[in-house]
Symmetry: C2
Subunit: 676 residues, 2 copies
């Protein structure tokens, strides 16, 4: 028995080793993201021509699949130029032999742990996509679209057999529409993009100090006074919820209480903790306006609000925020202080828990489950509350241990504009935890968070995408899919394909550069934008410009992104050069960049005729001048005087330019050390 067991183990080890290797090889070949659970390829391919048809194994094609198959056909036709003759999917009755046969059992429900698995087989004769639910079919259709390829004479799908299902059931993206309102079309295209990488929760941050964004019929002052006219009507919310549902995406609303309350209190100051005139906040930051937890009217307002909102969002979960309440206005209010004493609360946290429990009653009445940021966590909270971890892992691990469901956003704050490597390497389940197998199951997944202080409809896509695709892979794929270089390769392909869905992250870079150059030749600006990155968010707030919600977000920084393409490439070349510093070809690689930056400055000078461009002049000039010296350094020793000048240039370059930083400083420093 023991021997048999051992050989089984050895067999499994061999197989799994073989699989990992095969997987690695395949992930070099196919640009699938998130990477599926199991991929096996065959040497076949399915040709895409005008006869392409889809059959669904039902008498009637439901809304979700009508939508999904129609979009599938349009995207396929759009990217291949093939004039597909049948513009819509058919039922199995209507067509005997279809190119793509879709088989599923039942309509999926938008709830936790719904079955999203699918199996996909592409042969030269036929494609078969099978799933338990129509939501699984949607996930499989996205995989199939990622398998399209071409030769010079035809388009085709790669021949494969794929079995796939998600690691986590909660794979979310939060979009904050309070700091900057985002119109429906921005949300819709981002929902499409989410579905393309198999995300399934849209967390909609709908109110904050800077705006209250929902029509509330019972409390009309909320949207009338709290939104500058930029809010979603009931019908628009239903439109988004329905749009998401067709994509197999749940929508979780967030109304942040009791802090972050400037907009609410602009409408209903009588439930505030301080007797002041409240105004919609225009700055970014953490502010003091807070609801009064000792006032009955506060609960009446929240009751009316949450009851009305619950009608609009069918999802079981309701996010109440609950974060960043420093309690300053509570401390300054004698009535509230007396209340605390009377109740025996020692801390504001206890008072907030009192508030939370009352809020939870209201939500329960509306058949909703409360969730909130990790500040709401307190061991005496009802057990069905979901804890949303953002400050660290501890709250998540502690609450999972105590039996609370929990999701993670710490590590997925995409608004910080850090390298995608950081986010991709963040494991939702940390390695050294002491949770039992059952307790681990309390970790439902995670969410990328797009806080909105610094984004408008023009720039928001470039802050979310393509980065969020890699985070989506972290939530969907098994833990062992974690090779960064391979991820970056696949991400590049996914990034381009997102254009098909209307995501503007690529196209709007040039729109912004044309804007700042007043429609001159932007070639030199593109070069600069590829080596500059936005200051990481908190630096930007500290060192840089102070932004208001109506500040311009159409400047050079808004055309730049994290992981600047040429910077990555240059820094890599520098590393190769360091190891092979006597090899001429590695020197040539660097000289290529130096020459480019020198001639780029000449092009830049030609267009530099306005204040926005002029802010970049020191960047362009110092980089060009430095490049001349470093190029010289590649072929001869620099003297002391020259090294001094190099230092001066480096000092000049080591500053923010129009709120960006030069992302090649490290590489340049490495070169300089080598030359010494």
């Amino acid at each position: 028995m023991k021997i048999i067991r051992r050989s089984i183990i050895i067999y499994i080890l061999i197989i799994s080793h073989f699989c990992v290797n095969a997987q690695t090889k395949l992930s070099e070949k196919y640009n699938l993201m998130p990477w599926p659970e199991e991929v096996v390829d065959n040497d076949q391919k399915f040709s895409i021509d005008e006869n392409f048809t889809i059959a669904v194994n039902k008498d009637k094609i439901n809304d979700r699949l009508f939508n999904a198959t129609t979009k599938f056909l349009r995207r396929l036709s759009g990217r291949t130029g093939v004039f597909i003759d049948k513009g819509f999917a058919l039922t199995a009755n209507q067509i005997k032999k279809a190119s793509l046969r879709i088989n599923y059992e039942r309509e999926g429900e938008l709830e936790l742990h719904e079955n999203e698995s699918y199996q996909l087989t592409v042969l030269s004769s036929q494609i078969i996509l099978t799933a338990k639910t129509d939501i699984g079919i949607l996930r499989g259709l996205e995989t199939l679209l990622q398998l399209s390829a071409n030769t010079k004479t035809e388009y085709f799908f790669h021949g494969v057999t794929i079995k796939d299902s998600p690691r986590f059931t909660w794979r979310g993206l939060m979009i904050d529409v309070a700091r900057h309102y985002q119109p429906l079309n921005v949300l819709k295209r981002n929902l499409d993009a989410m579905a393309a990488v198999k995300m399934n929760v849209f967390h909609w941050h709908l109110c904050d100090d800077q705006g209250f964004r929902v029509e509330v019929k019972a409390l009309p002052k909320l949207h009338q006074l709290g939104s500058d006219g930029q809010y979603y009507t009931h019908n628009q919310i239903k439109e988004i919820v329905n749009y998401a549902s067709n994509l197999g995406i749940r929508v979780v609303p967030e109304f942040d209480v009791p802090g972050h309350a400037s907009a609410i209190l602009t409408a209903y100051p009588e439930i505030g903790s301080k007797d002041i005139t409240y105004k919609i906040e225009r700055r970014a930051g953490v502010f003091d306006p807070t609801l009064d937890p000792t006032n009955d009217k506060t609960y009446q307002v929240i009751d009316a609000l949450f009851s009305e909102i619950s009608q609009l969002f069918p999802d079981k979960y309701f996010h109440i925020g609950g974060d960043e309440n420093k309690g300053k206005h509570w401390d300054e209010n004698i009535k509230i202080q007396n209340f605390k004493k009377k109740k025996g609360f020692k801390t504001n946290h206890e008072l907030q828990t009192y508030f939370n429990i009352k809020i939870q009653d209201i939500l329960k009445k509306n058949n909703r489950t409360m969730m909130g940021w990790d500040e709401i966590f307190q061991p005496n909270l009802p057990k069905d509350v979901v804890i949303h971890s953002w400050r660290g892992n501890e709250a998540m691990l502690k609450s999972a241990k105590l039996g609370y469901k929990t999701i993670l956003s710490k590590g997925y704050y995409i608004d910080l504009l850090e390298s995608i490597k950081t986010h991709y390497s963040t494991e939702p389940i940390p390695n050294n935890h002491d949770l039992s197998e059952d307790q681990v199951k309390n970790i439902l997944g995670g969410e990328a968070t797009m806080w909105g202080e610094l984004v408008t409809p023009v720039s928001i896509d470039s802050r979310i995408w393509p980065r969020t695709a890699a985070i989506a892979e972290r939530f969907w794929s098994v833990k062992s899919v974690n090779n960064i270089d391979n991820m970056l390769k696949r991400l590049e392909s996914v990034s381009f394909k997102l254009e098909e869905l209307g995501i503007t992250h690529i196209r709007n870079r040039d729109v912004i550069l044309r804007n700042i150059s007043n429609n001159q030749d932007i070639t030199s600006l593109i070069v600069l934008s590829k080596i500059c990155e936005p200051l990481k968010a908190y630096e930007r707030k500290k060192g840089g410009t102070i932004y208001k919600s109506f500040s311009p977000f159409t400047r050079f920084i808004n055309a730049c992104t994290p992981d600047a393409l040429d910077a990555i490439s240059f820094n890599k070349k520098v590393d190769s050069f360091i190891v092979n510093s006597n090899d001429q070809s590695y020197k040539d690689d660097l000289v290529y960049f130096f020459d480019k930056w020198v001639s780029n400055n000449e092009a830049f000078i030609k267009i530099n005729n306005n204040p926005m461009l002029n802010q970049l002049a020191p960047l362009s000039k110092n980089l060009a001048d430095l490049s001349i010296l470093l190029k010289k350094g590649m072929s001869q020793k620099l003297n002391k005087e020259e090294f001094k000048i190099v230092s001066k240039y480096m000092n000049n370059l080591n500053k923010p330019f129009s709120d960006t930083e030069l992302a090649i400083i490290d590489g340049l420093n490495k070169i300089i050390s080598t030359l010494k």
Copy 2:
């Protein structure tokens, strides 16, 4: 008395001559479009900095001006990068000395002949904008935005005094959303662009053979069966009407009857003229399905439909189409033939007039004025019907003579993709008419028409803009503003500024080229796209591909536009060369292009790895090979054999490539003649 009169006339002539000259000079300096009635400049300028403020002379800022001033501030801040401190306009009470003072008398009404005039004075100390109505203020704000400029160190407004008012009261753009559905955001950005060039009527073509695009509660089968799920809800229509109203734009709905009825009859076949199974039409063209004018139920349906629709559109005018009914199904229906005999109608036109008069009763009941395409014109029509001329000027002139109000679209069919010169040169009031002064007043203006067979949300903007800005000038400015070169210069500036409003005509060219190249380097494709133009629409239908509504519109042709930029430039250089064929510098200009096309082919070959690109290979190669020979011809005589080869290349190039045509054929032919 006579002498005095004569000197007054001479004086007027001198003054007006002087004005015209000054105007011409100023229109070289300022990129205003439409060109205002009167512009006088001073040597002042108003500096734009963070202290910029707006004051409105009312106690409360109404919705329209809140919207207009807020957008004004965002656009100004966005294009200058200036962090304007006050993000919203203030009332005169709230601020004593504002940068921009807005004074108006009353809210404008969205109706014919409403006052849209304004006066704008920009001095170094202040800007004053005055108008009778808030709509006039909107028009003035757009002019002011067109006056922004900069030096290297600051942004400013040019110092001017402008008096302005429109020539015509009806300055429209029709968008057909039946052939291809256009989402709300596409319509909104186009409304913004219309307002930017002072257009004031959005004519919304809402149903046709290919789709019925409005929710109808009384007749739900219309949108359920006639739209593939792509229709506007009541709330969405109200949203667009309100959006337009805030821009001072009227919205006129069109429901095309009795022809173009496939979608309506798919829902209600019982009111069709033939007993067949109707289906939503997928092709482009003119089709036979027609409502039965002898069936009472037809009028019941239209009554229910038009009564419900009238509630959604406050505008007085209601367009019933009425075009292109060939009456084939009427001729094939014995009941209808008998009805004609009984009524004594000799032609189908008489039968259609019978139908129109019944429709007009329905509209009258709903307090709406009927308008229709010129086919509805018949001298016994009620006098308040508006005739929309599209087949020629005759109907327009005839109906104006008979006292009907009329507008012109013949000459403004932008879907034909002709050069903007053609449209710009089309005068709404032809020179040799025999109308009295009062009769001329019946010509209310015109409309550009964007028929939707060949456009999707990705490409529609590039078919409408920037061209429609020149048509807008034709409708707004005085007749004498008609210099084409000057218009083209100003149009280029307007075109770029439209990006600010989200118009995608520039950015989406590259999106499409990335698509067809699968995200390779698109430089060589950009070069080709700048010398190729889409086949003019009717050729495209005749010679080229047959499109269905779900065909791909993401191919090379969709990245090309009329008035291809390099083609215009090349053809001009050729003309200069012809006149100065011995001057080396003119030869050099041409050689520059030849060299470019030779090296471009090398770049193209590198990326040519898929079927969509491969369609362009003969174009790129023949042009490169021809260029080599023509370059040789610039310095030495070509021999007979070489001329033969030149002819072969020209033959090869004189064909459509991926539904485009090479727009430099004329120029090339001219060069070849010279070389002979």
